[in-house]
Symmetry: C2
Subunit: 282 residues, 2 copies
Amino acid sequence: MTQARLMDGTALARRIVEESAKRAADLTERTGSAPCLATVLVGEDPASVTYVRMKQNRCRKAGIVSRHVELPAATTTAELVGTLRELSADPAVNGILLQHPVGDHIDERAAFEAIAPEKDVDGVTFASFATMSFGLPGFVSCTPGGILRLLDAYDVDPAGKRAVVVGRSAILGKPVGMLLLARDATVTYCHSRTQDLSAAVREADIVVAAVGRPRLIRGQDIKPGAVVIDAGYNPGNIGDVDFDSAVARASLITPVPGGVGPMTIATLLEQTVTAAARQLGV
Amino acid sequence: MTQARLMDGTALARRIVEESAKRAADLTERTGSAPCLATVLVGEDPASVTYVRMKQNRCRKAGIVSRHVELPAATTTAELVGTLRELSADPAVNGILLQHPVGDHIDERAAFEAIAPEKDVDGVTFASFATMSFGLPGFVSCTPGGILRLLDAYDVDPAGKRAVVVGRSAILGKPVGMLLLARDATVTYCHSRTQDLSAAVREADIVVAAVGRPRLIRGQDIKPGAVVIDAGYNPGNIGDVDFDSAVARASLITPVPGGVGPMTIATLLEQTVTAAARQLGV
């Protein structure tokens, strides 16, 4: 039985980060200041602390300055909005990342909307969602944008293909569907209320699993030759796709880990450099 | 052969307008000022002039004041943006409608974004698209919102159903798909690049045709018992659905005219009254 080719997100992400580092160095040389990403963390959730630290480390290695803002867990929506507005107005800050989650007592949407669209390098604002949806210039949500880059790198042109997105989160499912639609795929959104998920997935030339349920998508549901993108993260490095059965049916598949995962930070770094270049007019 | 039941948009729209008129009268009595819709027209395109006049007439009959702003065809983007910002800041204006199209030399998106979201009763801003997409409170695009009202009025619950939207315009196809997704339908977007449109439409429990191609969708493509919403307008009052063949397969179908059409203005008037009530805090 033939096996799908693996889509190597680690290697592609490395290339994107290297290129971003070159652009960052060039920009620093030409303008005298390095691109700057502000990371904002509310509270001390251990996973969030780890994520933010990882992003800062990756920034530093790429020649991007990171400015870290730590706020106590008891921060109010108004205080967080105030901080994000200050960063939005600060010419020394090129990109802003608000680490999710911010705590249930905070209106996260109000916080996101306080990020200036031109600094929304994480692609979380209404404006970024709309520009993704309408195929207009703007920043993309990092994981969805990374998925499109992976498809491009493996010469998968979504135009005219049937794409099925399983999951409809604001930061992953919905935007990746919109990006695929903007690239002329025929896009179907499936989710927890979908009645016959297997039947819907079987129609797909491109499957994007983005729902956070371990091994939900099984090989028998994959159309032979389909491209399978597993954007699910579940405890124990288990994806939303049952890899062992899917790899026997797909033509291309992302492993977990090493597929979609590395693309998220790479996209964040790339967009931060792009934001700096645009703001500095170079 | 059984025939589909007709979805009477004319009657439903009349009820919505009557109810909006009552709310407008109540609001006028309580606050001393009637709800006000500002209509902005750029140039003298005859169809646009007719549309705007129709909207103004319908406003007047519903007890909504309309303030009309006519700008010359040579208006620049900056001038139009300035006008829309003034109206957005004017406490006497509750809703703003910018009549489409505005002319090729104008950045229509920049103009739309100059409309304050809380006055975007036509549902054209990025913010309105995002709130529709994320199931958040806000104003809906009028035709998509009207379609959802029609479904509700005929007890069609989208949850768990397969909905196929043919068309992906910013003002109709994309938002109606997002509204259906927010109501838990499994949503497929088809468009000009879709390879086998007939096969995709045959999967649909709910078909929304919104593409502007006369009689594109034929009865043979309709799943027996499906609900067919024809949001297409083509010269000669011809819809995107071939009514005569579709009516024999569908369970419910919107006629053209008298289906989706009347719902658009009804939604505009209803949202204008809602905007006024919110702004006045009553």
